[in-house]
């Protein structure tokens, strides 16, 4: 199952609570480690080497949110990631090669050099590309969910955003529309307590993001976003609510952004004690400990998985560097539909 060249969730296989804890744990571990390793290389190697230009946004410390919920989603569910949810792409079968090529502006990336970093999507994999303006994806997710309902599908939408996004009007318009339409959207907030440099208390006067839900007549719950099982179980509850036709469901995942806003930002504005406090709650460390304690795996096995991921990532980077840069003569192609 650790072969990254094949989607882990095939069309006939769906994640469900019937999966044994052992199977699920291994999947969690694999995607958590893969996201962590790919982002380490992007942020701390390739960016610093000048091989990646522009913005770099990573999910260090909060990977359990996209991994836990992404594995709760069925393959036909539509995902709207935010810029720290790289794990969702891997869960949907995007290869690390494509991710590195995307970051390097190569033809092999998901946007063929048209856009950079996490601004990527693929409708064939049911992943809608990030809209850079925070929360702009929320009305779009509501509309996708309305369409699924229109079509009588059992599939639903998972829409991801951070705490800062909930300050924007689009968030409120989108959640309200989804609520009124009883559209099947699980709204997942990664409350990592900072929007760029702005702490939560300057974003909102309520205590929790979940406090916003009653204003729209939808249920909400708060989970430990650094506990991948807790996120998975909450996402399954939210998904069940949506699939029953009961409308949207908000999950607030409490977490912390263990990095600056982007690679150029050292996060100097974060009080030192918060790094220490949240560093001790690292979701990967916690999962590994749980797996070892429950006899699911051993330290040696985990190291072997890590080693395999590292070598796969080495290969993916080499592949991406060999992928050609786009030909400037293609600049004006694809703005509109073109004759086949």
């Amino acid at each position: 199952m650790f072969d990254v060249t094949a989607p882990v969730l095939g069309p006939q296989e769906t994640s469900s609570i019937s999966s044994t804890e052992a199977d699920l744990s291994r999947k969690f571990l694999y995607y958590l480690l893969l996201q962590r390793e790919v982002e380490e290389r992007i942020e701390r190697k390739l960016y610093r080497q000048g091989k990646i230009l522009g913005g770099v946004y990573v999910g260090r410390g909060q990977e359990a949110i996209c991994v836990g919920s992404g594995l709760a989603a069925e393959p036909g569910d539509v995902l709207f990631p935010c810029h720290r949810d790289l794990g969702l792409y891997f869960i949907r079968g995007v290869h690390p090669r494509e991710v590195f090529a995307q970051y390097m502006g190569r033809v092999g990336g998901l946007t063929r050099g048209r856009d950079g970093n996490m601004h990527m999507g693929d409708l064939n994999r049911r992943i809608v590309a990030i809209i850079s303006a925070m929360a702009a994806s929320v009305p779009v997710a509501a509309g996708a969910a309305m369409a699924l309902k229109y079509q009588g599908s059992r599939n639903i939408v998972f829409n991801y955003f951070g705490d800062g996004a909930t300050s924007r009007g689009d968030w409120h318009e989108g959640v309200n529309l989804a609520a009124v339409q009883r559209a099947p959207v699980v709204f997942l907030c990664n409350n990592n307590q900072y929007a760029y440099s702005t702490p939560l208390e300057k974003q909102m006067a309520c205590r929790d993001i979940a406090d916003r839900a009653p204003g729209y007549g939808i249920p909400a719950e708060i989970v430990d976003g650094n506990d991948v099982f807790a996120v998975y179980e909450a996402a399954m509850r939210g998904a069940a609510h949506c699939r029953e036709g009961l409308g949207p469901y908000l999950i607030e995942c409490k977490t912390f952004r263990m990095t600056g806003h982007s690679a150029h930002d050292g996060g100097d504005y974060v009080p030192a004690h918060l790094w220490a406090e949240w560093g001790a709650k690292d979701p990967i460390v916690r999962l590994e400990r749980r797996m070892i304690e429950n006899g699911i795996t051993s330290r040696e096995e985990i190291e072997a998985v890590y080693a395999r991921i590292r070598s796969e990532v080495d290969e993916a980077i080499a592949w991406a560097e060999a992928s050609p840069l786009p030909d400037p003569s293609t600049l004006t192609q694809g703005v509109y539909e073109e004759p086949a």
Binding site: V128, G143, A145, M146, N176, L177, Q181, G334, E337
Partner: protein
């Protein structure tokens, strides 16, 4: 054939497309029970039901965003902005998302955003604007503005079938004032093609929307004086049908670009620039722009009348240019 208004023609076009394609649905404010602020969608709820005629909260950004999301799932949304003026509340979804999806990640967003625009109805600064230039400046969008009932029906049908996002400006002053016989049967008007509204020899007026009718009246007056004015109705503003514009100007050697929107940064500047770049040797005079002054659209009748380009102004400028 019965006489059909511009408004009824739009309704017919939408209705035919909804009948033809079960993926077409309507979304907007007060479009269901109320039938829309201008009654364009009247009767649609009864005919097609709540599933396909979706009344929304007052949330223009959510209306456009939801339309985009639904289009990704294979539906064909037709979103209504109650007034084109309020499209600014959905601006980001249109220009930053819908317009860029195909280019960025190969995801077409086949939505139609209907925008009742234009002055002459005493609507004041928030219910009278012509914001088409904002969208003409946005690669990835198509921008359409019909002047006749015939074109309104044919273009709304093409817009709904188009695989790119289309902003469909429908001029409010034309809704019930313009009426003509249109065929009962199925027809469409291709997006991206202008048409010659009136043939002429001495000068060309390039225009669109309500100003086509101003130009037609001016052309009659000028004909009595022996000046023959050709009228080019652009119909689509993005992409511009440059060839029809240039061939008219090459024939008449003189051009006036006329629009109701304000002058600076308007579509007229773009048309004018293309004419001087590409038909300079054919010109026997400067390209003249006639547009509203650079002010908000005022409310009180004498102010609004002074604001809107009119027949007298066009006739005067056309005489000047014809004699140049």
């Amino acid at each position: 054939m019965p006489q059909v208004t511009y408004l009824e023609a739009i309704r017919q076009g939408i209705r035919e497309e909804m009948t033809r394609d079960p993926n077409v649905f309507l979304i907007g404010e007060d479009i269901g029970v109320y039938g829309g602020a201008f009654k364009v969608t009247q009767g649609m709820l009864d005919e097609f039901g709540e599933k396909r005629v979706v009344d929304t909260p007052i949330s223009e950004s959510a209306i456009v965003g939801a339309a985009i999301g639904a289009s990704f799932m294979g539906l064909r949304p037709v979103a209504e902005m109650q007034f084109a003026d309020f499209i600014s509340c959905g601006f980001d979804q249109i220009v930053n998302f819908a317009a860029k999806c195909r280019y960025r990640w190969n995801a077409p967003a086949p939505i139609v955003v209907r925008a009742p625009s234009g002055g002459g109805i005493h609507g004041g600064p928030f219910h009278s604007q012509n914001p088409e230039a904002w969208f003409v400046h946005t690669p990835g969008l198509k921008v359409v503005e019909p002047a006749t009932a015939y074109d309104a029906k044919g273009l709304i049908k093409s817009a709904i079938r188009d695989n790119d996002p289309v902003i469909f400006f429908e001029h409010k002053a034309l809704y019930r004032r313009v009426k003509e016989e249109i065929p009962d049967g199925e027809y469409t008007i291709p997006i991206g093609r202008a048409r010659i509204h009136r043939e002429g020899r001495d000068l060309s007026v390039i225009t669109y929307g309500a100003m086509v009718h101003v130009a037609a009246e001016a052309a009659e007056a000028l004909a009595a004086e022996g000046v023959s004015m050709e009228i080019v109705d652009l119909r689509t503003l993005l992409p511009i049908d440059e060839e029809t514009v240039l061939s008219s100007v090459r024939k008449t050697s003189k051009a006036i670009v006329l629009h109701e929107a304000t002058l600076t940064g308007g579509v007229g500047g773009e048309i004018s620039a293309r004419i001087t770049e590409k038909a300079f040797e054919h010109l026997d005079g400067p390209v003249v722009r006639i547009a509203a002054p650079d002010t908000p659209v005022p409310y009180s009748p004498p102010l609004e009348e002074a604001f809107l380009p009119n027949v007298a102004r066009l006739v005067e400028r056309a005489r000047w240019l014809a004699a140049y």
